[in-house]
């Protein structure tokens, strides 16, 4: 072979062989395999294998206003200690303004408050105190809320029996979930839709006037019944014990009450619960879940064992779901589903089949076309094109990229565009053949002159693909991955493999002229 270094042919053959070998795992596609080699297969995106994608947003506003509520309660207590009357409290999303009757004790009140909540911005103006949630304080609330939510979501999803879920933070206040193979996203959504904040409060049955007037006295709150909005309870605002002290909860069946959730407290919870129940025999104890009373049984005797049951009109599924929620713990704030994309396994399989056909037919058409136009040279370009496809598949498999439906479109598109580099080279060779007579010089010049054009032309496509990756989401990223890999692979196959094949062909056949 004239002018063609052996080391170069060796590299070309080696790279193409590697491409073919590492495509094998993706072509066989054995899901259950443990073989280290066969594991290097393409990951299918949720749109191809079926599954559910959910984007949840933590309702931070709820947390901020809860925090401001806490502030206002503390201020009332401090004001009472300092014997200062409060005229008015104004609450909005960002701040509270407290207007006192006089300004005598305002700096003492401010200082005592600051002892409790450091890092909050406090301003006094005459008899007015402004407490503001500044950005740093908000960010702290936000970060801990997201962290806690992630953990709780993970526990709930694990309990639901989903295989290989992907759960991660996305942006400032969102959680992204990918649940492959989930057939019934509705149940998952149910599980995630509840905050599951469980608290126990004493019922105040001695103040029916407040309940009728619907005015909450200080330290009390009015809560409605889960099954009947018109049934209201007046409860102590302070929770005596809460879900954070639970160590276990499970669905159970009670002879008289039907389906129920039985629970067990940790030591601290058991002690608290025992003390409350022994001090308040005869009173009612309300079980509050997410702001509604599930049940409010009368305390007949002290419960010191640290366990109990929650009854309600549950069916078996509801009871066991509630148990799951209680075991996993409460979310710091409600989660809202802001985006959902669920694909059934049927559509995924259809998409794969359609993609395969489109790729095969596209390939066939391009190959026939290349042979019609360029003859033998076209056939050589086709070998490069097929090698190109193997290289894309092997790269996708080894880097563990995810193949999506737009990704398949990217591969089909690459099949059409990959021959471009070959076309550029062949057209150059055609032109050079008008100026020269020696075949090897023609070929050499053709490849060299086409090189810079090929690089320029492909880099612009790569720029578009990279930006698409940076700004795109999920499936679209799959497209930019296959397009980029395709462009890179096509430059290699055209400049190295086609080059090698053309030299081989010309020297083996001992061609004296180029028939392009």
């Amino acid at each position: 072979m004239k002018n063609y270094p052996i080391w170069k042919s060796f590299i070309v053959i080696l790279l193409v062989l590697l491409g073919v070998i590492f495509s094998i795992p993706s072509i066989i596609y054995d899901n259950e395999t443990d073989n280290w080699f066969l594991k290097n297969k393409i990951n299918l995106g949720l749109d191809l294998q079926g599954g559910s994608y959910l984007l949840l947003e933590v309702q931070l506003d709820v947390l901020y206003s809860e925090e401001l509520e806490n502030f206002s309660d503390s201020i009332r207590l401090i004001a009472r200690e300092n014997q200062t009357k409060i005229n008015q409290i104004k609450l909005d999303n960002e701040k509270i303004i407290i207007i006192f009757e006089n300004k005598n004790n305002i700096s003492e009140i401010r200082d005592s408050f600051f002892q409790l909540y450091r890092g909050v911005s406090l301003k006094t103006n005459d008899n007015q105190l402004t407490i503001e949630l500044d950005e740093i304080y908000k960010k702290d609330i936000q970060d801990s809320a997201i962290k806690q939510s992630l953990e709780i979501v993970r526990k709930r999803i694990d309990e639901s029996g989903t295989r290989e879920p992907l759960i991660q933070r996305s942006g400032k206040k969102r959680i992204l979930l990918q649940l492959p193979g989930v057939k019934d996203p509705e149940r998952i959504k149910e599980l995630l839709g509840k905050t599951a904040k469980l608290t126990f409060h004493l019922v105040d049955d001695n103040n029916s006037e407040a309940l009728i007037a619907n005015i909450e006295p200080f330290g009390k709150m009015i809560v409605s019944d889960i099954y009947n909005d018109n049934t209201k309870y007046l409860l102590d605002k302070r929770a005596l014990v809460g879900g954070e002290n639970l160590v276990d909860a499970k669905g159970s069946f009670d002879q008289t009450e039907g389906h129920a959730v039985s629970f067990r407290f940790d030591t601290e919870g058991a002690q608290k619960f025992g003390k409350i129940t022994s001090n308040n025999v005869g009173k009612r104890l309300a079980v509050v879940l997410d702001g509604v009373v599930i049940t409010a049984p009368r305390i007949n005797s002290a419960i010191t064992g640290g366990s109990g049951i929650i009854t309600g009109n549950f069916n078996a599924q509801e009871a066991s779901d509630l148990a799951v929620l209680l075991r996993a713990g409460a979310l710091p704030a409600p989660l809202e589903i802001v985006e959902e994309r669920s694909v059934g396994a049927g559509l995924g399989a259809d998409s794969i089949a359609a993609g395969k056909i489109a790729a095969f037919i596209g390939m066939l058409l391009v190959c026939i076309f290349m042979i019609l136009i360029y003859g033998t040279f076209g056939a050589l370009a086709n070998i490069s094109l097929i090698a190109n496809l193997f290289i894309i598949i092997s790269l996708l498999g080894t880097i563990g990229a995810t193949l999506t439906l737009p990704g398949i479109a990217g591969i089909v598109l690459t099949i059409g565009m990959a021959v471009d580099a070959n076309v550029l080279i062949f057209e150059r060779i055609k032109e050079e053949s008008l100026k020269n007579t020696k075949v090897f010089i023609i070929v050499k010049n053709g490849f060299e002159r086409a090189m810079s054009t090929i690089l320029d032309a492909n880099i612009t496509t790569l720029i578009a693909a990279v930006l698409l990756f940076a700004f795109g989401s999920g499936p679209i990223r799959g497209f930019s991955i296959t397009l980029s890999l395709g462009v890179i692979a096509s430059m290699f196959t055209a400049l190295m493999l086609t080059n090698f094949l053309v030299y081989m062909y010309l020297s083996v056949k001992a061609k004296k002229e180029i028939n392009l």
């Binding site: 959902e340 049927g346 057209e427 496509t461």
Partner: protein, 299 residues
Amino acid sequence: MFGLNKIIPVEPNINFLILRKKFLYLSVIAIIISIFLLFFKGLNLGIDFKGGTLIEVSTKNTSIGELRDILSTNYNDVSLQEFGSSDIILIRLQNKSNQESIETVNDVKSLIEDNVIEFRRSEFVGPTISSELLYRGFQAVSFALIAILIYIWLRFEWQFGFGAVVALTHDVLFTLGLLSILNIEFSLATIAAILTIAGYSINDTVVIFDRVRENLRKYKKMELIDLFNLSVNNTLSRTIMTSLTTLLALFSLFIFGGEVIRPFALTMIIGVVIGTYSSVFIAVPTLLIFKFRPQDEED
């Protein structure tokens, strides 16, 4: 072997630039109409950018009419559409608040459960997400255009960069105008298609510009208009070949690739045709505004 390549001569001599004014008028009119359409008709935004709910079902022994009857008694803002075959139906619902929409999906599913073999797909995009996606898509396209411009500036003289950007903007607007008039759904995949079209069109333009640059060095005395014509002719068979192979692959995707990917394939087909046209008839004539050689300034 077959010698079909001889159809396009090695050195064709077609006077493209003499036609430039006619095509310029054509393009200007097309762009004005496109902008007009974008403002007054707008794009057929899919749920990615408009927000809303979409459910794809395969039905058993139920026609689209029966399904519509079941649903329209409960929802007045529901629209149904056959999707590729008569037993596959797309159900779309208007956007409401996040919470409400999620509940609606559940309700719709339980209403038609008995008429359905499989829920093939259900998608919900909330209002905040859809506006974010639109913003990010806009960002991606803008940054891509700027990055490509910078690259062309670095590799060529700035005049080429100008020509390339004029051609690109033309391609994007023209494609969007056609999407509007043909009522093709505008989704995240369309953004991908538009970016790819930008990359493809620039690719085409770069190949011709590359040749213009080479010829500028080679033929120092040639009239610019003849030189541009020669460059377009030199690269003509490549331009046609690459467009044809790309279109072959895209038609295969359009016909066999399945219903979901069809709007993407159609957008790409439109874009490839427009991109090829603009490289020859828009990008190259734009270069005529500039004087590339000192002696031209004396003319």
